[in-house]
Amino acid sequence: MSKIPSPTDVKKRVQDNVIWRSVFRPGSIYRKGYRDTSRDRALAAMNNVLYHLHPVKVKRHGLKLTYTYCLGGTSFFLFILLTVTGIFLMFFYRPTAGAGSEFAFQDMQNLDQTIQFGALVRNMHRWAAHLMVLTTFLHMARVFYHGAYKPPREFNWVVGVILLLLTLLLAFTGYLLPWDQLALWAVAVGTSMMGYTPVFGQQVQFVLLGGVEIGPETLLRWYVLHVLLLPFVLTIFLAVHFWRIRKDGGISGPL
């Protein structure tokens, strides 16, 4: 205890620590001796979990804001944001409706009025959901106008359409959960059309609603779809989408 170590000393000691070195692989920017050289930049990408997503180098033009408008990325970030805020909401929400047990609606009121940050997080979840539908649409349009669906990227476009569909279904199933008039009747309008599916219209509607009309069973069913099944499926397709971007030779273009 003779002398107080300087910040540089502390940094050095921390970085020399066995645990630190086990966490950050050689080349990590947090490791001792990282320098801003080509070699270390390449290592930083290669020895990072992000290497599952990104190659070491990317085309320069793909970085220009006016190429992707970061729309795919924004859709993805919104999905992350929705997952985080959604987990928060799950702590306070019970998918239960029906006389004497209108918990879903009560929980929404509580979130809005009494729970710390409840209103803010609920708002974020709602607005981010709308925004994600919008950015996904726009992302599709930008991909189209760049001809980025052309070989070898045809299949990734198909994966993209599935992602769009899943995004819409996620937004729609979530719309029912507050169990207010808005939710009930928006969903009623949307699902009434499904009854017109040729041949098994009635069956399709029955399976989706958990009954002949929207009720507490529908709420539980859509809740499970919304918080579990659809995000799970979307994540799988996202993985395929991102993987294909790399395998198809990175971002398309330049035009």
Binding site: I29, G33, A42, A45, N48, V56, K57, V58, K59, R60, H61, L63, L65, C70, G73, T74, F77, L78, L81, A97, M108, D112, L120, R122, N123, H125, W127, L131, V133, A141, Y145, H146, G147, K150, R153, W157, V158, V161, A171, Y175, P178, D180, Q181, L182, A183, L184, W185, A186, A188, V189, G190, S192, M193, M194, Y196, T197, P198, G215, G253, L255
Partner: protein, 288 residues
């Protein structure tokens, strides 16, 4: 820890004194120690500096293959006028032919691999002979130009981080200012007028005004979706330039505008009874 590698302390201290980083100094000192050890063991080492573009193959090899090197290497040597390594060094087909002919002549008409001649590089001249068979365009072709690339770290990661922060900030600020709607408790016996689907399905609901529910609600969405997925397989035009894609642009833009108009009509211009209203006169029936 891995076993310690010897380090030439003298070299290390020298480099550190010269202000080199610890890593560089250690690496060079290790190399120096290794070199010393090999030299002491009488091992020959390839001269590293000599492998610069100008120099021929390492000496040891060159000596062994002296006879082969004379004739054999001619056909692949880079163009003299080019300067070494300048340009892509490719030969025109005529030039290549001329060189192959000259090389073969020098070797006395060529012929198969001659047994008993060079030993170590026995196959070498043969290889060069084979090169004459290669199509005049060459073995390795670089298709298109080299991509102009940058490092993912820091360039792409920084951009993504900024985007992530912006998305989070915009959503947070907007959410602090504008509350999400929450209506009255759901009541199956009390139909609001109008009842509207979420905006992303408003296009469908608007079509419902004009078409049979099966067509508007099932057939057309299915056709759209399948058509969307099939688009890349139907568009056989390889070009990605807007000026070559007028038809594709027209079709897609048509559907996009069509869809946007339907969505906006349903969202903003439909009131009680789902009848047409002017939002600036009659008010707005639209909730997100």
């Amino acid at each position: 820890m891995a076993e310690e590698v010897e380090v030439d302390q003298e070299v290390y201290d020298e480099l550190i004194a010269a202000g080199k980083s610890e890593r560089i100094a250690r690496a060079k000192a290790k190399a120096a120690a290794m070199r010393k050890k090999k030299a002491a063991a009488g091992e020959q080492m390839g001269p590293r500096e000599a492998s610069a573009p100008q120099a021929p193959a390492p000496k040891a090899k060159a000596a062994a293959g002296a006879d082969a090197a004379e004739g054999g290497a001619v056909a692949t040597k880079s163009r003299s006028g080019d300067g070494n390594g300048a340009g892509n060094g490719a030969l025109t087909p005529q030039e290549r032919q001329a060189r192959v002919a000259a090389a073969l002549q020098q070797k006395g008409g060529g012929g198969g691999p001659q047994p008993g001649r060079s030993t170590k590089l026995g196959g070498q001249d043969h290889t060069h002979r084979l090169l004459a068979m290669v199509p005049p365009t060459g073995i390795q072709q670089i298709r298109g130009k080299q991509d102009d690339k940058v490092y993912t770290w820091p360039h792409l990661i920084t951009a993504e981080f900024v985007c992530l922060m912006a998305v989070t900030a915009v959503t947070t600020v907007f959410s602090a200012l504008v509350n999400a709607p929450l209506g009255d408790l759901a009541n199956a016996n009390l139909t609001p007028d109008p009842s509207k689907a979420p905006w992303y399905f408003m296009g469908l609901q608007e079509m419902l005004r004009y078409l049979h529910p099966m067509v508007a609600g099932v057939t057309l969405p299915t056709v759209f979706l399948v058509g969307l997925m099939a688009f890349p397989f139907m568009d056989k035009n390889p070009s990605v330039r807007p000026e070559n894609r007028k038809t594709a642009y027209t079709i897609f833009t048509f559907f996009l505008v069509f869809w946007a108009v339907l969505t906006m009509a349903g969202s903003f211009f439909r009131g009680p009874g789902f009848n047409w209203v002017w939002p600036w006169v009659d008010g707005l029936w639209f909730t997100l």
